[in-house]
């Protein structure tokens, strides 16, 4: 039996997302007392526009640009030997991370396995002074002891649901967050 995903509800629209990102940017700047050594790293694919938006917002508030890096965690996934065909590997672009305060950014925090892979990837590049985690949506169901430092919205979900975050740069159209439901196809 096959499943398909059908939209169930839109939980955030573009203005709401913008307000949440502004609040998160403020929290990141507050917690780190400014932008010194701050480096935002987006996890491909949709962690990247989140990191870029947060960095722009923090830069605007603090009057100082915040560097952004891009991490592709494909080569560090723990399920490569079970998923069959390997996913497309894309490039990783990181500024020097030694001594930096890295804020890893991802759109949705779910099992925590992506973050585990990202942490392993990071330590192969250098030794940041600290690593923090910022996610737009925390949907629960963690399979590893990982928690976010900065959360946009906690959204309780069931495992049968899927959370879809859209950004203009990756998906076209306006920012939004939707919940999709797995329904059997006859």
């Amino acid at each position: 039996m096959q499943n398909k995903l059908t939209p169930k509800a839109t939980i955030l629209d573009a203005p709401e997302m913008a307000r949440i990102v502004r609040r998160m940017a403020g929290e990141i700047a507050e917690r780190n007392r400014g932008v010194k050594d701050l480096l935002l790293i987006g996890i491909r694919t949709r962690g990247v526009p989140l990191a870029e938006t947060l960095a722009a917002e923090i830069g605007r508030m603090e009057g100082h640009p915040v560097p952004v890096g891009i991490l592709d965690i494909t080569l560090y996934r723990d399920d490569l030997s079970t998923i069959g065909q390997h996913p497309l590997v894309k490039e990783t672009h990181l500024p020097p991370i030694d001594g930096a305060v890295v804020v890893l950014c991802d759109d949705v925090l779910y099992t925590g396995r992506t973050v585990r892979a990202a942490l392993d990837h990071l330590v192969d590049y250098g030794r940041p002074r600290a690593v923090q985690l910022a996610v737009l949506i925390d949907r629960g169901h963690r399979e590893l002891p990982i928690q976010a430092d900065f959360v946009g919205r906690v959204v309780p979900t069931s495992a049968e649901e899927s959370v879809e975050v859209a950004f203009p740069s990756t998906d076209g159209g306006a920012e939004q967050v939707r919940i999709l439901e797995r329904t059997p196809v006859a």
Partner: protein
Amino acid sequence: MASESNSAPVRWTKKDLLGISDLSAGEIQLILDTALSLQAIEKRPIKKVPTLRGKTVINLFFEASTRTRSSFEIAEKRLSADTLNFSASGSALEKGESLIDTAMNLEAMAPDMIVIRHKHPGAPHLLARRLGSGVINAGDGAHEHPTQALLDAFTILQKKGRIAGLKVAIVGDIGHSRVVRSNIHLLTKMGARVVVAGPRTLMPVEIEKMGVEVAYTLEDALRDADVVMMLRIQLERGGGTAFPSVREYFQMFGLSKPRLSLAKDDAIIMHPGPMNRGVEISSEVADGPWSVILEQVANGVAVRMAVLYLLSGAHEESR
């Protein structure tokens, strides 16, 4: 090369890489895109990713090789695979064991992939049919050498930004060269114009049927070329009997600096190695600014990492 769009990429489904002739243009592009992503790993402080952790790759080389074997071995190690090097000398082959028996014995030790070079065309295909492991052809006689053609294409893309529409001249021992055959398949699939040149005695009959033009002088081949690929005379395969002397060969088909001026100003010079200086290429050309010969070697590692990565995924799926 790699696009950021969400368009569905070509999916890799093959357990083996036996030749370029089996690949579609999309599959070739997928390997090249993957190689581009993997290339950055060598610039990191820790030049290793855990992707093939716990996988075993056997490098089965029945013919001499420095570049290709070490390139595969480095690629395997950068992906964290365990590697075993096996060469014909000092093995049970010298005691009369057949290729299939050797391979079946190695397979019994449960490797995930086998990289094979053999003097007989089709040897990798034979293993691929008999073995469950993924098989990578690292050169079979004068037939194919797919990873060489892929690293050549990667180097051309890196230098020229495209393959389609370029004039590529391939000069030398066309008849004995597996590098030529794989390159012709690849370059024509990707839309390049390929001209082969060399002595008539080293030119296979009906090579035009592979979609290439034939030139019998070096000058005709070089004129307005974007890429010039020089080949070694394969003395061990009888290439030395096809012309009167090495000196005469260099006069006719050796690439020297004055001749190079016939090619485009920004032409690049390639050579798959090993190079015979003063036979097919002068040192001045081989070491000049137009030469990308060492870049080819460097790119070989990334391209072979891409092949190992893609094949190991397909291999899991077929289990």
